[in-house]
Structures are given as C-alpha cells and as structure tokens.
Point group: C2
Chain length 156, copies 2
C-alpha cells in the first residue's frame, strides 16, 4: 500500500464571529459561515436540514503541535494522558475541526449557525448535513469525558 | 479577510476491506483502519469510546468532480437537484468523507470498525471519538432524505 503523500484542500469560506477566547465554546452563540460567492449554488436545499456538520481548518495549530502524540484533555494534568485520537484536541496530525451546529438562517452565501466553536477567520473546509446515520443511541464514553461534561454543566 | 490558499494534509493510515462496489455501504460490515506505526501511541485510550468519526480522503473524486455545484442525490433524477453541501455526495470541493463507525477492536496500530463506507486503500485523515455533543435529538431532514432511507430499509 503506497501512501498518497500530500492532499491539498482549499477553504470554501471562513467563520465570522465576535466571540473571543473561551467565548467560542459557548454553545448558545451564533456565528456566520461566509462561503465563497462562486459556491452559493452549492448551498441550495441546505435549509431542508436543521443541523449541519462543519469541517474547518484549525489554523492556530502549529507544525510542532501536529507532531504531538499524547495530551491531557483540556491540558488538565488531573485527567489521564491520552492519545490525541482519543480526544478532540486541536493538536493532531491533520488539524481539521468537526462540530455539529444548528442551522439558523441561510442568506445567499452566508449561513448563520449556532454552536460553532471556531475563532473568527477560521477557514471552512466542508459542510455536511446531519442525519440519523451520524448518531449512535447507545454510545459509550470514558469516565474523564463524563467528568468534564458535568463540570461544564455546573458552570452554565 | 485573506484566504489561506492551500492546506496540506497527510494520510495517517488507510482503510483495509474486502468489500467491493456497493458492499462498502453495508453498515453491518467491518473493515480495518491501518494507522501508521509511528502514530500507534496516539491511539491510547481510544477504546474508552464505543463510536468514532472517521475522516477520510475520497480519493476517487476527480478534479473535475470537485468543481460540481449541484447533484441529484445518488444520481437519481427522480430526486431534486441539490447543492452539494445539502448532500453527502463524494463530489465536493474538498472531498473529505465523514462516517460514524462502531469501534470493535484495537490491536496495536489497527482498529477494527463496523459501518465504514470507504473503499479498500482509502487514505484516513483523522479519527475523532464520538460523544453527545455530536448529536441532535430533534434534527429535521428533508423529504427526499426520508424517502431514500425508507428504500434502504426495504432492501435489507
């Protein structure tokens, strides 16, 4: 098996948001996906779906960070040291972010979405409609994950 | 806003399956993700999750297909002509596939997964654990999607 050496992507648009720092992780916030004008027709019919996956380029991840194999989730030393593929950390070999968002509004080449945890100016790579094949009713997660979720709920 | 012109990814591994043609869409089948040996440590702890998202490179999509803006889902003329971002077609500007799979087994650098609709030799770009942020309990899908799902159920 010979590996294709390089795969080249081009952004289809970018994220527009006024959220800064930790504010981007607030799931109630809306932001905009400003898609290239020449791709506007490629959005036709997207409003038939209530939820979308957004794939975006984690452009703040450095080349050095892309080589990391293990991290503590959210850099917390009290949580186990894990392989990066067991986490959603931005430090991964191919730093592509994946977030489920609610589609609020479509206007020409601009989508307003709720729940996107991406910074202003983040390159958008793809948008995929969410459907029932994308979910598992009885998914198992590890203890550290449940602990983090509980803490987040208490903060809100 | 200046667009980053090119984003370069490298495969982290590849898909191994004996399924050919439409068989790859059979959700009960298992296949293997053969991850680069030097990334084996990056899989530590992944077995704490029952389900994963696999991001993979749709390497059969041609440069010409990447420029298409609209398609009929599954090439069916009886279904509406839709923008490619309203579908999961492989003909998209950045042909990255996204599929939720069940994690069956982890052995060193090889993951056995169930439900991956990717051909043998497909480059794998990323693996992300699935958790409850990745799902929406009350997601809306359009009529054409429901029609396709019903047809699939009848075939099984």
């Amino acid at each position: 098996m010979i590996f294709q050496q390089e795969i080249i992507l081009k952004p289809i648009g970018f994220v527009k948001t006024i959220a800064i720092g930790d504010e981007v992780r607030d799931k109630t916030r809306t932001s905009q996906l400003v898609i290239s004008k020449e791709l506007t027709d490629a959005l036709d019919g997207i409003d038939g779906f209530s939820h979308l996956f957004v794939l975006f380029w984690l452009h703040r991840t450095s080349t050095k960070q892309r080589k990391l194999l293990k991290v503590h989730p959210r850099r917390r030393k009290d949580l186990p040291l894990l392989g990066i593929f067991a986490t959603r950390t931005m430090t991964r070999p191919n730093p592509v972010g994946l977030t489920l968002v609610e589609l609020v509004k479509v206007e020409d080449n601009i989508l307003t979405v709720r729940g996107l945890d991406a910074f202003n100016g983040t390159p958008v790579l793809d948008i995929k409609p969410f459907d029932s094949w994308d979910t598992a009713e009885t998914a198992k997660v590890p203890e550290w994950w449940t602990k983090l979720k509980k803490e987040k709920a208490q903060k809100l």
